[in-house]
């Protein structure tokens, strides 16, 4: 669900469930849109239960796409799983995750 907040012109999106190779293609299809990156995006990852390398990779891609458009991609909430995976890859700084609140216990 991508919602454009008309007042701020910021997209809001929430990913939930598993960001894994088994869903990588679906996710990629859902995310790949022509105007992705034309407005800033606030990403809510608070309900992500599982992340593997393909998931992190997809997030890196998003970040790169937004960087190319000089737009900001912010992770506004993240789950333990996301924090853990991003941390393992040493990408906390890249995603600016250090200050992001972590939701305890995910949806499942």
């Amino acid at each position: 669900m991508f919602n454009l907040d008309n007042s701020t012109m910021i997209w809001h999106a929430r990913l939930e469930g598993e960001l894994t190779i088994y869903h990588a293609f679906e996710l990629y299809q859902a995310l790949s849109s022509a105007n992705m990156g034309e407005a800033p995006l606030d990403l809510d990852l608070g309900q992500v239960s599982l992340v593997d390398s393909s998931g992190v990779q997809l997030l890196v891609l998003l970040k790169k796409v937004f960087a190319r458009h000089h737009q900001e991609l912010r992770i506004v909430t993240c789950s333990e799983a996301v924090k853990d995976a991003v941390g393992l890859f040493g990408l906390n700084g890249f995603f600016g995750l250090t200050a992001v609140p972590v939701t305890k216990g995910t949806s499942e």
């Binding site: 190779i21 088994y22 990588a24 293609f25 996710l27 990629y28 995310l31 790949s32 849109s33 992705m36 593997d52 390398s53 393909s54 992190v56 990779q57 997809l58 890196v60 891609l61 790169k64 796409v65 960087a67 190319r68 995976a85 393992l88 890859f89 040493g90 990408l91 890249f94």
Partner: protein
């Protein structure tokens, strides 16, 4: 994109490793026996061989464990860890090798294999906890007292004695390793998740810092493949583990991905070469190395200064000019680097060169290749026909050269499926040991011709029949030590497996020096069982063949070894189904020799092409005795029987056109192909004989699975499909139609 691919590789690799481990353990055991008998001059040699064996056993256990860790198979890690610990103590000579220790280790190997087989069936947990516990306890009784509660992963640092000097500089104790990884694009799809590698590393030490490298990744959606892997990592890692242990983590990706491991206190140049090898902006990578804590900023500056002042590949020069390394060390270092570029450790390279450099390829891919080449042969043949019709000599010439090449390519590709029979033979070492122990017999198995090659599909199918024959030889052939002593034979029975090639087929011999076959007893038994009439005059060979008759068993009491509900008749049928046969030669009191003749491959047969109406049929050449013209005068047809007089012999025959319900009138001239199966002979009457051909067998598929008399199909030079007759079932069909006792 399934997780399965990686696991399947793991399972296969483990099977191989465990098999090797078993062979090595048995070799140790044999060594133990001989050194008991004679403590003589070869002891030093033995010593060396022993060390190597123990090392190899250790490495096998270690790899099974290490890879299990990557997959998070904790139960396997846990169990193999215990085994590994003990093996390590053995290696360091803290404990001595005894036959009971070997027996326990063999059982441990069996348990590991069970775990792996369970894994193959999708069970990812301990299948037999009681046994695991018992074995672990047993293992611990062998440990020296001080080491009984060994908690850490005990891997010694001393196994690196083959590493070149440069690496030794600082490889003792803890240190800061640098690991550089570039995963190959298919890693994710193959189930190799970089994240699990990092998590496993965390178990072996502390990841000080990780820098994820994603240069390869596009920055737009169009070029991005969500299932491809674009990731690379530069990892600073502190660990006490040996280089081997750390390298083993990456065992599964080493072939396709780039893995570089720089040990603690390595020369600056190792980093320098890392920088130059990775296709990346040097300064940026250098900064990453600093970020990882692997280099200090000063060291980086120094390294870059050296690099920029020298041409790209003059690493050696740099080293020597700096004056702190001897030339031979430089050579070793360069060699080392060259190897790590190829993603291999020195150890593995050695192993590979011993195996003649092997490449693991899925059997499906080879089959596909062979299929395509089969196609190539077919279109080559039709091109040849066209070129001959064109009367263009130059064209004909070059097409014929082309076809010769194609045939060579076909032969070469068939060789890809060829494997040595040694692995199959070696499996029997254990069988012979266990069965002989159980029977209280002393048997030595010797193997010759282990390097004889045959098609993988044949190898897979002869395992069971061979097993049965070997067990049978142990059970009924070789006598107990007491009997042997009474007969004045050496106490130790000899069983021999031999293989060799003979005119397009492979011959396997199973020879024992046991009691031999008692022709009179077999005959009496066959009569008793109603298999033959008491008036039959049979020669020795025919009598021996009776043991393959259904319902025959020579042992008066069926033991639980060979009497597993499978008779020798089943064994023979298995062999015959493969297009092979068994011969028996035996001398009472001296021993028995079973000779198996098998085709080298199941994918290609030598056939004989015949025609009925417009339809071509292929008859396997090895089932053909002769071809004659049907003399109508000699053919008798009455009471639903058809037979002919073949040189005063009664030969039953069948017309293929009638059997197959073909409707046209039969031609004036007909031909008889005399075929045989076992000791039965029959004639198959066809319209035309076309001649011999070698042809690739194509299965007809499930739809025709119930079809009898036809075994497969083959595509001919003109693209038409010819059916291949299956002589055994065809003869059965004919026999069913005929009144009794006609075919003999």
């Amino acid at each position: 994109m399934s997780m399965d691919a990686a696991l399947i590789t793991y399972v296969e690799e483990c099977r191989e490793l465990l098999e090797q481990m078993e062979g090595d353990l048995l070799a140790l055991e044999r060594g133990l026996d001989t050194s008991d008998d004679s403590t003589t001059e070869t002891e030093d040699d033995n010593e060396i061989a022993w060390c190597e064996l123990i090392n190899r056993i250790f490495r096998s256990a270690h790899t099974v464990k290490g890879s299990a860790g990557v997959f998070g198979l904790d139960h396997i890690v846990e169990f193999t860890h215990e085994v590994e610990t003990l093996l390590d103590q053995l290696r360091e000579e803290k404990i001595t090798l005894t036959s009971s220790l070997i027996a326990t280790l063999l059982e441990c190997k069996d348990h590991c294999l069970d775990l792996i087989e369970c894994l193959a069936d999708g069970v990812e947990e301990e299948s037999n906890p009681q046994r695991a516990e018992r074995l672990v306890n047993e293992l611990q009784t062998f440990s020296p007292p001080a080491e009984k509660d060994n908690q850490s992963f005990a891997v010694s640092e001393s196994n690196n004695n083959e590493s070149p000097a440069i690496e030794r500089l600082g490889n003792n104790g803890s240190g800061h390793w640098h690991i550089s990884l570039r995963f190959h694009a298919e890693a994710l799809r193959e189930g190799m998740d970089p994240m699990s590698f990092l998590r496993y590393l965390q178990k072996l030490g502390q990841i000080v810092s990780v820098v994820t490298v994603s240069n390869e990744m596009p920055d737009n959606f169009e070029k991005f493949d969500p299932e491809a892997c674009y990731l690379g990592f530069e990892i600073g890692f502190v660990s006490h583990e040996s280089k081997q242990t750390i390298e083993d983590v990456f065992e599964f990706i080493r072939d396709d991905s780039q893995v570089r491991i720089i040990p603690p206190f390595a020369e600056l140049e190792s980093y320098l070469s890392l920088i130059s090898e990775l296709d990346q902006e040097p300064r940026r990578l250098g900064e990453i190395l600093v970020e990882c804590g692997s280099l200090t900023p000063e060291e980086l500056e120094q390294a870059l200064a050296i690099q920029s002042s020298k041409p790209q590949h003059a690493l050696g020069e740099i080293l020597i000019n700096r004056g702190n390394t001897a030339p031979q060390v430089v050579e070793a270092a360069i060699a080392k680097q060259a190897q790590s570029t190829a993603g291999r450790s020195q150890n593995e390279d050695r192993a590979a060169s011993k195996d003649g450099g092997t490449l693991r390829v899925e059997a499906d891919r080879v089959d596909e290749l062979i299929n395509l080449i089969g196609e190539l042969v077919i279109s080559g043949a039709s091109t040849a026909i066209h070129s001959q019709d064109s009367n263009n000599d130059a064209l004909t010439e070059s097409v014929s050269t082309l076809n010769e090449l194609i045939e060579e390519v076909r032969d070469a590709s068939m060789r890809l499926r060829m494997v040595e029979i040694g692995a199959t033979f070696n499996r029997f070492q254990r069988v012979v040991r266990d069965v002989a122990n159980e029977l209280g017999k002393q048997v030595t198995l010797s193997i010759t011709g282990a390097d004889t090659e045959l098609d993988k599909t044949v190898v897979e199918k002869i395992g069971d029949p061979l097993m049965h024959l070997v067990r049978n030889a142990l059970d009924h052939g070789i006598e107990s030590p007491a009997e042997r002593e009474a007969k004045g034979k050496p106490l130790n029975g000899q069983l021999k497996l031999n293989a060799y090639h003979d005119s397009g087929s492979i011959v396997i011999e199973i020879i024992d020096d046991g009691a031999g076959l008692d022709a009179e007893r077999i005959r009496a038994k066959a009569i008793e069982k109603g298999l033959i009439d008491s008036t039959y005059e049979l020669n020795k060979e025919d009598i021996y063949k009776l043991i393959f008759a259904p319902g025959f068993s020579t042992a008066d009491a069926v033991t639980n070894l060979s009497g597993r509900g499978v008779g020798m008749d089943v064994v023979r049928n298995n062999i015959v189904e493969l297009g092979g046969r068994i011969d028996i030669d035996s001398e009472q009191g001296k021993g028995t020799k079973l000779t198996l003749h098998l085709p080298l491959t199941l994918a290609i047969i030598d056939g004989f092409l015949v025609g009925v109406e417009e339809s071509p049929f292929v008859i396997p050449l090895d089932s053909i005795r002769e071809c004659v013209e049907l003399q109508q005068d000699d053919a008798v047809e009455k009471n639903g029987r058809q037979y002919m007089n073949l040189r005063n012999e009664v030969l039953p025959f069948v017309r293929l056109r009638e059997l197959f319900g073909m409707k046209t009138e039969r031609p004036i001239r007909e031909n008889v192909v005399v075929v045989h199966y076992g000791n039965q002979k029959a004639g198959i009457v066809v319209d035309r004989l076309h001649g011999e051909l070698q042809t690739v067998i194509k299965p007809l598929g499930q739809l025709f699975s119930q079809l009898q008399g036809i075994g497969g199909s083959s595509i001919m030079g003109n693209g038409e499909v010819a059916l291949i007759l299956d002589i055994p079932t065809l003869m059965q069909l004919v026999k069913d139609k005929q009144p009794h006792h006609v075919i003999h």
